[in-house]
Subunit: 178 residues, 2 copies
DNA sequence: CTTGCAACTGATAAACTTTCTAAGTATCAC
DNA sequence: GTGATACTTAGAAAGTTTATCAGTTGCAAG
């Protein structure tokens, strides 16, 4: 991937090197904020804007994609092969889900692109993606524990909730496509 | 839908009435900002926060859903039946795409929920949704015109671009799942 | 190895989206 | 009608993302 950075006409700075390495090594599709915080020990002077600039440059070069699949900050995906996503309703975590073999046999190695949508006349379909909504392993386990504790103690809000809710978001939010 | 508002224990205020009516009548899944601006003539004193409060109340009552399918503001969907979405890469517009008959035959009237994901062990799938990415009719036509004009005049950036990009976003953004 | 330019970084401001707070107001059950 | 409660308004505030600009640095050419 680093070679692609150079061949895309992008200069290979220490900041970009660190960001690309961290992004490529992380299957959880981190946000810009997460990348920034993880790299802060190694690059204490790096600006937050540099993280965004770099991710934008990578995306423009076709080396990663910005995902907006749940409220809150965008997540960045270095996997440019055809794949789908599993999105946690609770913490927003995103994991890749490979295409099924039948999909990979399609003409485009990307996704199966069907004919025009009768529901949306004139809409030009470029790609079709699938989103699996639900609870990631950690949140599913967390909820079990929570309800178990809630049964033991009557109503004590004891567990600190580790939901990674969008920034200012404090209220509960109904999951999409309920 | 208005009856549902009352039966959900929500008070039926003029603001809510207007918001519900506007939302239910609009198939394009407007943002909070768009609803606010459209209702401003009828309700000049309505606060922007009221739009958010109302949409949040509706979502919590299960009467609409907040969609985060592209960067920028959330869009609100009053259609609670099982369906998918077509999302415009350029302007962010969202249109509903009904499920196919085969999907509606599934056990849940919602979506076909497959077995556990081998790619994400422990992930509890609640629903599967499909996103058709591409260009809406208006943007597809707009791009044709743009390239036609660009060919005529050599490089004049004459057409004002009507992209509804996320807030501060000025730069071009690579569509997801490129 | 030096040099120069273009691209990049860092810092900050700013725009936008969303939520919170506090005080006043209106809805609805009785 | 009347009161409790939920709602609205307005403004502040927090989080995300982009713009601006001066200073620095990567890197290609010499």
């Amino acid at each position: 991937m680093l070679a692609c950075v150079r061949s895309s006409g992008l200069k290979l700075t220490p900041q970009r090197l660190a960001i690309v390495r961290e992004l490529a090594a992380d299957p959880t599709h981190p946000t810009a904020q997460e990348l920034f915080e993880r790299l802060r020990p190694a690059l204490p002077t790096m600006s937050f804007a540099t993280v965004y600039n770099t991710l934008d440059a990578l995306a423009s070069a076709g080396l990663c994609v910005a995902l907006s699949l749940s409220p809150g900050a965008s997540r960045f995906d270095p996997n440019m092969d055809a794949h789908h996503h599993a999105v946690c309703d609770r913490c927003g975590l995103v994991r890749d889900v490979p295409c099924e073999p039948s999909e990979l046999l399609a003409e485009r190695s990307d996704e199966i692109v069907p004919g025009p949508l009768t529901a949306a006349p004139g809409f030009e379909v470029r790609a079709v993606e699938r989103i699996y909504r639900g609870l990631c392993a950690a949140c599913a386990k967390g909820r079990q524990d929570e309800s178990a504790h809630a049964a033991a103690r009557h109503a004590g809000r004891s567990e600190e909730n580790n939901r990674l809710r969008p920034a200012g978001a404090r209220r509960a939010r109904r999951p999409e496509h309920g």
